[in-house]
Amino acid sequence: MKYLDEFRDPAAAQALFQEIARTARRPWVMMEVCGGQTHSIIRNGIDQLLPPTVELIHGPGCPVCVTPLEMIDKALAIAARPGVIFCSFGDMLRVPGSAGDLFGVKSEGGDVRIVYSPLDAVKIARDNPHKEVVFFGIGFETTAPANAMAVVQARQLGLKNFSMLVSHVLVPPAIEAIMSSRHNRVQAFLAAGHVCSVMGYWQYGPLAEKYHVPIVVTGFEPLDVLEGIRRAVKQLEEGRAEVENAYPRAVRYEGNQPAQKMLAEVFTVTDRTWRGIGVIPASGWALSEAYAEFDAARRFTVEAIRTQESPLCHSGEVLQGLLKPNQCPAFGKECTPQKPLGATMVSSEGACAAYYRYGRFAMPESLQPLAPA
């Protein structure tokens, strides 16, 4: 397949693995920020083929995983109301709230629909004028333009029955939070290519300088990931801490300016709770005052929610890179993709689910769940 096969070439991958092994003379720890990269690393077995000197830590960049429990519970409450059509991206439906998930709400009669684009939800609102249509607007900067466009379109169409439950999160504040944690082990970042295709990478210069940390904008195919790792290792070995673009076919320095302009109009920066991590200041987007009428959180008053995380779930430490998924005592035992305790076990981009799905084979016998006899 054009534009993909050339970035999955086994011979070129081998050459990159060898060069990384030659370059890395000391042990280095780097974090891939984005869940899509985690998925690719585990899906292709990249982590198994890297030299022991390069350790990858899986970052908090899975939007499904970090959406706060309170927001999930709010979504469950709204979706269960009569007269509401609740629209969401597919993999949010299985994420556990304090009690149940959206699939459960659906099976109990809630009108929960999977959409492929927020604009589909706008269309549903137009076609169902007597229903309240709510879209669950989550994600990083990558999904934000489409979500913003949905609200803009709803206004243009004069829709009064469309609203969005917004829980957007932002990458640069997360990098800042990780670097300023006293537990931090990360020495370099592979920045998320898709986020940068929207936002550019002008935001990262000050971070690289302040924390003296190399940041390499990285894509998602095996060769993209390896090239990102190669450049990060090279910087570390040479003592540099710069922002580099290893994904130039999709990312420009300034990013997508019209999208950024729209985002600035529709959203406003807010403090955001990250599931498993806690509140990170100025790390999220909420709807701006100009678009407040489309805010589902304002339109639907949801009674005080008492959230409760499973005490067994260590997803917070996993998301901060302090724990590998298979080091969690509940991994593969109490917690599996069929019965996830935390969101990291749900999304295909979640580090725990990726480990379970693609990495179980390499794990100690004691951690492998028993197949049915």
Partner: protein
């Protein structure tokens, strides 16, 4: 009867107790479906013939061996690129029988029709079923019709039963997989699932993807003629190849090691899967089979598959191994290894 079920006493604590109601995933052909069968239906029905969990069951009758199978079809839309619900119902039932090595002979069809369904649509479906039956060499010998109120069905639901005759000496079943067996796939993966998805609301692809629905009994006959000692035959429908191979690995307590690069996928299907964040290994097929064949007969089997029009793109995709029993692994495109797990519920498109 629901009130009599003791949820606490189920042999496996996960995951059904957490879902007191049926979820769509229970029909997805993955882990939830398997759990439903294992923990609800098998204990309730308690018949040896069911315990083998094949696509069809083999029973003895009047001194011979008969393969029996039943299937229900609830596809939406009713007409999709490359086929329709009627053709799918006939081919699906024929294939369930053929996967036990049986020669399919007779089918029945029960129709649950929704009030308001245009007769022209039903006529097209019936003609399509007749054509499919002729093509597969089977007869439709009994039928039934029920009509439900508007809004209580989805146009047409079809339930079928199939009967076939098992030739003497044929013994095919998932538990017969042995280390050393070659794993053969008869063609490209994912065509049916992506064809149906592509015409559902909101998804339009520029180049049409066509369902692979086809009767596989002819292909099976050709395969058995060339390689009489085939151990396992399955058609990877819902849940895709990944779920089918996991079921076999667990039934036979063996491991399966795939070579991802050897698995054929049509470029349009691959593109659609990339777009939606799906894995072709988990997408449904309706005209493909996977065969476990002793190594000594693998070459002959592969040649026989490739000589048949429905097996032109057949490939050797992996081997059965004694290591990691119950698990399916794949060597990835760049030479790493990953586990190919069973699908949990329905395959869900990723966010970004």
């Amino acid at each position: 009867m629901t009130n009599d079920l003791n949820f606490e006493a189920w042999s496996c604590p996960l995951p059904l107790r957490d879902h007191p109601n049926i979820l769509l995933g229970h029909g997805g052909g993955g882990q939830l479906s398997a759990d439903l069968v294992k923990h609800l239906f098998l204990p309730a029905f308690g018949d040896d013939a069911l315990d083998r969990l094949g696509d069809s069951s083999v029973v003895e009758l009047a001194g011979g061996r008969i393969a029996v199978s039943t299937d229900s079809f609830v596809v939406r839309p009713l007409f999709f690129p490359g086929g329709d619900i009627g053709e799918l119902a006939v081919n699906g039932t024929v294939n369930d029988l053929a996967m036990s090595g049986a020669r399919p002979l007779y089918l029945t069809a029960g129709f649950i029709l929704e009030e308001g369904l245009p007769l022209t649509q039903l006529g097209r479906i019936a003609e399509s079923m007749a054509a499919a039956a002729r093509a597969a060499g089977v007869r439709l010998v009994a039928g039934d019709t029920k009509v439900v109120d508007r809004g209580h069905g989805d146009g047409v639901f079809i339930n079928t039963a199939g009967l076939g005759l098992l030739p003497p000496g044929v013994d095919i079943g998932p538990q017969r997989a042995r280390p050393g067996d070659a794993v053969l796939l008869s063609g490209t993966l994912g065509d049916h699932g992506m064809a149906v998805m592509s015409v559902r609301e909101g998804l339009q692809f520029e180049s049409p993807i066509v369902s692979d629905t086809a009767p596989l009994n002819g292909l099976v006959a050709a395969l058995l003629a060339a390689a009489p000692d085939v151990h396992v035959l399955r058609d990877p429908t819902r849940g895709g190849l990944a779920s089918t191979l996991n079921e076999i690995a667990q039934a036979a307590r063996v491991g399966v090691a795939l070579d991802e690069r050897a698995i054929p996928v049509n470029p349009a299907v691959q593109s659609a899967c990339e777009l939606l964040g799906m894995d072709p290994l988990y997408v449904a097929n309706e005209g493909k089979l996977v065969a476990f064949v002793p190594a000594a007969q693998a070459d002959a089997a592969l040649a026989a598959l490739r000589a048949h029009p429905l097996g032109a793109r057949a490939a050797l995709i992996g081997r059965v191994v004694a290591e990691h029993p119950g698990l399916v692994t794949a060597r990835t495109g760049i030479g790493g290894t990953r586990v190919v797990d069973m699908q949990i519920g329905e395959q869900l498109p990723r966010i970004c």
